[in-house]
Amino acid sequence: MLSIPEASSRPGFWMGLTRLEADLPRIVAHAVQLAEIPSATGSEEVRAEAVRQLLEEAIGMARIDQAGNVASVLAGEPGRPGTVILAPLDSWYGAEEHPRIQVRADRLTGPGIAQHSIALGFLIGLARTLREQPVAGLGDIWFIATVGSEMAGDLRGICHLFPWLPAVADRVICLQGPGLGRLDHWSVGTYRGELTVWTPGGHCWRDAGRGNALRLAMDFSRRLEALPKPGFPRTLYNPADLRSGDAWNSLPSKATLRFELRSDGEEELQRLIREAQLAAAELCRNQTGCRAELVQHGFRHATGLYPDHRLVVGTREAQSWAGLVSRMGASSSDASVCLHYGVAAITIGLANVVGLETHMETLYLESLAAGARQAYAVAVQVAGRSK
């Protein structure tokens, strides 16, 4: 990975940066257009087509793959390693919403503008800039908007790119809207489980003593809650959703508990998963007619790049050059899958944002200039590396 002095001395670097900064209003306009297309996980087709058209307009070619990802490539110098730049296609709101973005001189307000329409706008803007104002000595750069990056999608878009992706690139930059200065170099290990308990049910008074599905699910949750969880690596259990019950006087015959186990450490995560499986297996012991089943709905390894990895060091340098203070951290994003497959990946944020995932999600426009400098510099640093 190039250092900032090396990258900025490449012919075309400064012209490209100037062009990208001049293009910011257009990037914002595209972000507004895309935010107003609801794109719930699993229903990203309309937004994908809009992104495809914009990418095609930007660099001449874009296609939608079988999973629904939009991909295009900017050919670079032969023999240089490739780079992938990702942005998520899906939104946290669905077609039932009619999102409207309010545009003021200093801010944009409306659902999805920061998470992650602005990242899509930057993806398209970077592609257009690097095509119209090429920087010398860059390898192939793939611009990919991925489906299924929100929770329900379980990263199916990025998963679909494997094993193809390592064949064309060994560095991945994930763009996300919120968190200017954010540098996520670690994938939070995540296990999403759903425990379902079935019991015979009955009347609470007449059939007292029979198994109660709700109580059993709560016992399971309590047992996971009581497990020791270290502060380092940070580890937690989050019961997210519990559904059960019929009438006031009935014994619930079914209960469903959705929960998440998270840890920065793979060993801790695996230990918690084993404990959860054990708890589920033992839950209905000595309970006549009761059954419990634990199903995995998503999994991400706890893995990542150490702070001295060249990609992390280079990105920090770019952020510092852009006037940002790096905030290194961990997250669960498309980068998680790349890291798991041994492809170095980082996630960076592009803007200052408040009110995330609300209808008053607000993005401050003055933060975009630094976000643009950072994203551009990282892209050139990474794409300009030699093997």
Binding site: R26, V28, A29, V32, R100, I101, V103, A105
Partner: protein, 309 residues
């Protein structure tokens, strides 16, 4: 031109190539955004018109925002985005009166240097660039075309279907083929339309169509099929007075041109001239669709003088 020929030659569909056709067309293109309390949507419209145009380079020579008496941040947003703001002559009157779209357009027509003007109501949630480009491209390609309307549905909206189209079909049968004579999104040739009298109320569009037809013939009008319009919370079609004002403006156009005799029974709706100095500010009711801006007619004040050549 027969109605069939008109439908064949003057009904267009939006194509993806239309935005590109506008570049280098040799004409000055302008946008007029009619805005009344449109703070929620105006910034978005201006941003996208300036920077979201397909292909990147917006074709606009000038962008106007005709404020129709807003009490919110509409004017501030227009200035923030660098648009030319045209404010009503008297904000108090404009504020209590229902939106005077025609007055806003008249003001912009007096100011503009553009050859073609795209008229956009800010209450629209989205402006389809393909349709906007097609409206202008039709005017660019055919110099005989002076007014090009968008037709959001085959029969127009409810205002057209239940209000103005039956009246037009009865009184000006040639215009019965126009899908939506009340279309709020349209493009016009400024040199031709500036000569026409313009009702200064909401619902002026139908009278403008009739006026254009009477002056320049049916061949001067065209239409472009458009997807259904999505309106903000302030859907002008929900204004119960709009249909009435639209019909009344149309009747006055036809009366003035001699197509119908003077509807004396409507005379009581006309405002009585008053002297401001005597009475102070007056409250203008929604029924008051006049004063009528008509050349040679001194009955009403003129707010938008034609630009001297």
């Amino acid at each position: 031109m027969t109605p069939e020929a008109w439908l064949f030659h003057r009904s267009f569909r939006a194509t993806r190539e239309d935005p590109a056709k506008l570049r280098g067309c040799g004409l000055k293109l302008g946008v007029c955004v009619l805005a009344r309390n449109a703070a929620a949507t105006l910034g978005r419209h201006l941003l996208l018109l300036q920077h979201g145009w397909p292909g990147g380079t917006a074709p606009w020579h000038e962008i106007f925002v005709a404020d129709l008496g807003s009490t919110d941040a509409t004017a501030e947003i227009a200035r923030e985005h660098g648009a030319v703001l045209s404010e009503p002559a008297d904000r108090l009157v404009a504020t209590v009166e229902s939106a005077a779209d025609g007055d806003g357009l008249a003001r912009v027509l007096a100011l503009t240097e553009s050859d073609l003007l795209l008229v956009v109501p800010a209450d629209l949630l989205r402006v389809e660039f393909g349709v906007a480009a097609s409206l202008l491209a039709a005017l660019v390609q055919d110099p005989c075309l002076h007014l090009c309307l968008s037709a959001s549905e085959p029969d127009g909206g409810p205002l057209a279907t239940l209000g103005t189209r039956p009246v037009l079909a009865a009184l000006v049968p040639e215009l019965a083929v126009v899908s939506d004579p009340t279309s709020p999104l349209f493009a016009l040739r400024t040199s031709a339309i500036r000569e026409l009298p313009l009702a200064r109320t909401g619902g002026f569009e139908c009278a403008l169509v009739a006026e254009c037809h009477l002056r320049h013939g049916i061949a001067s009008i065209g239409q472009v099929r458009a997807p259904s319009f999505e309106w903000s919370d302030r859907d002008p079609r929900l204004d119960p007075g709009r249909s009435f004002r639209s019909t009344l403006a149309l009747l006055e156009t036809l009366r003035a041109s001699g197509r119908i005799s003077t509807p004396r029974e409507l005379g009581h709706l006309l405002p009585q001239p008053r002297d401001w100095a005597d009475d102070g500010p007056r409250i203008v009711t929604s029924l008051e669709i006049f004063p009528w801006e008509r050349r040679g007619d001194a009955s009403g004040p003129r707010t938008a003088a034609p630009k001297p050549n």
